[in-house]
């Protein structure tokens, strides 16, 4: 019972601390003074350098989903719906969530480890005593880059997976690019794209905030760096799923179904 109470207390404390950290970020985000050069550098690292991993994963997802869905649709004589089905699945759900999970693994762990290592080696303290605000320089820049870059990565992933799906359709059939393109965009509506796109900003916020929080407040010692990197991935992946669940409910309430 004591262990359960301690665990629950720790959970509540952690939620409170992350909320306070998020609020501190929001206040700093709307501050006039920003580290634009560092934000652009982080956008390059977080966005551009994640493209190969996101691209390869999206290609495989699009291809596999198409190839594996074909037999089921064939049973009902509905193979012609394959492009529409893949497009809806990818754009509404799989693209944003899987891209966010990949980023939680790649970006979340990298931010957690980097800031954790800086904390352990007193680099964050050194920055603070030199009169530079480390929260603004290290945290605001990384979280902002995550917020801006995750939607870009999701759009790229959606595009690549749809192209892979086109190749998948043509493995066992013949469909021109124009017809495929027409079928995809015929099936997609504004209400499919908008909620899926908006939630990616929140996924970016969650990945950035949790990675930074875990690293920024990592305990002293090299073990703390490992724990920071690991827990950044675990917690941000979990938060992505929870946010997705909430986003689906909100979209449903607003009639975006």
């Amino acid at each position: 019972m004591d262990n359960q109470q301690t665990g629950f207390k720790h959970f509540v404390e952690e939620v409170g601390n992350i909320s306070a950290f998020t609020w501190k970020f929001i206040k700093a985000f709307f501050n006039r003074k920003q580290e634009w050069k560092e934000i652009i550098r982080q956008c390059y690292i977080i966005g551009y350098q994640s493209m190969p991993l996101v691209g390869i994963t999206a290609f495989i997802m699009g291809l596999v989903l198409t190839v594996q869905s074909r037999p089921t649709l064939e049973e009902f004589g509905a193979v012609s719906y394959l492009p529409a089905m893949v497009a809806l699945s990818m754009v509404r759900e799989i693209g944003p969530v899987v891209t966010a999970l990949i980023c939680a693994g790649k970006i979340g762990s990298s931010i957690g480890a980097e800031l954790g290592s800086m904390r352990v080696t007193e680099q964050i303290d050194a920055m603070e005593v030199s009169g530079t605000n480390p929260f603004r320089y290290l945290v605001v820049t990384r979280v902002t880059a995550c917020i801006f870059m995750l939607p870009v990565l999701v759009v790229v992933a959606d595009g690549i997976s749809l192209y892979a799906s086109y190749l998948g359709v043509n493995l066992k059939g013949v469909l021109t690019w124009n017809l495929y393109y027409h079928q995809v965009f015929e099936s997609l509506s504004f209400s499919d794209i908008l909620p899926a796109y908006i939630k990616t900003y929140f996924f970016g916020l969650a990945i950035g905030i949790i990675g930074c929080y875990k690293g920024y407040y990592s305990n002293k010692g090299t073990e703390g760096v490992g724990i920071a990197a690991n827990s950044a991935v675990v917690v941000s992946s979990l938060v992505v799923f929870i946010m997705d669940l909430i986003a689906v409910q909100i979209a449903d309430m607003l009639g975006y179904t």
Binding site: E122, A126, V129, S130, G131
Partner: protein
């Protein structure tokens, strides 16, 4: 004539949970002097200097730097104050994703944004020349030895020409020859930059070389104060162990 004081602590109290580290510590740092604080590991020496730059805040008592109460300063005032204080960390705390040049440019460009690149380069080379490491300008911190890292850390601090220097165990982990070089460098900094310094150490050779005054910290309080020779020649049994190796 009364000496000008730049740092004053009064009844400084700091605890971490049930661990009471500082229990009413008092001290004054006079302008232009090197003050060495000696104490066992975990006695609160580093906590003391971290309270002076706002990295930690005391639970009770007062820390005044240049007459300003550190706890009462706004974020902006604190940043202003920090530009007048240099802090050499035990681990040197070089930014390991930046070259030596970028490490030195980092504080300079942020506090003097109007300097052109030529002026920045000149100041970087001057700071490196003062610690005898011009050749390391384009190296990464991972390519430097322990002693070189300490020197670069010192150069990065000195580039803003601080009035107060706080050294957190500057010779820990270094061989005796390099320790001696760092101690001499601390004296050079005092003479060339006219800084007032607090040196936290348990290296008695370093303390003997650099100290104008020494404070012994025992059980979170100032136990003794005086010149190095006065304390070394004291008959106090609590002080004897500090000087036993000499």
């Amino acid at each position: 004539m009364k000496e000008e004081t730049v740092v004053v602590t009064q009844n400084l109290v700091k605890s971490f949970g049930s661990n009471h580290v500082l229990k009413g510590f008092n001290m004054e740092l006079h302008k232009g002097e090197n003050l060495v604080v000696l104490g066992k590991s975990g006695s609160g020496k580093s906590v003391l200097i971290k309270c002076m730059v706002g990295l930690l805040y005391p639970d009770n008592g007062s820390v005044k730097v240049f007459g300003q109460e550190v706890s009462d300063l706004t974020v902006h005032e604190m940043d202003e104050l920090r530009t007048r204080i240099g802090f050499l960390f035990q681990s040197s705390a070089l930014y390991d994703s930046m070259t030596v040049r970028e490490n030195l440019e980092f504080p300079l460009k942020r506090h003097h944004p109007k300097l052109n690149q030529k002026e920045v380069d000149d100041l970087v080379m001057e700071a490196l020349a003062n610690v005898g490491l011009e050749r390391a300008v384009d190296l990464m911190p991972s390519e430097l030895s322990g002693g070189m890292r300490k020197r670069i850390g010192l150069a990065r601090t000195l580039i803003l020409k601080p009035e107060i220097m706080l050294y957190d165990e500057p010779t820990t982990g270094l061989d005796p020859v390099t320790s001696r070089e760092i101690s001499e460098l601390i004296l050079e900094v005092q003479n060339n930059y006219k800084t007032s310094s607090i040196i936290i150490t348990h290296d008695m050779d370093c303390a003997r070389t650099v100290a104008n005054r020494v404070i012994i910290l025992i059980n979170g309080e100032r136990y003794a104060m005086g010149t190095f020779d006065e304390l070394m020649n004291s008959d106090d049994p609590q002080l004897k162990p500090f000087f036993a190796a000499l």
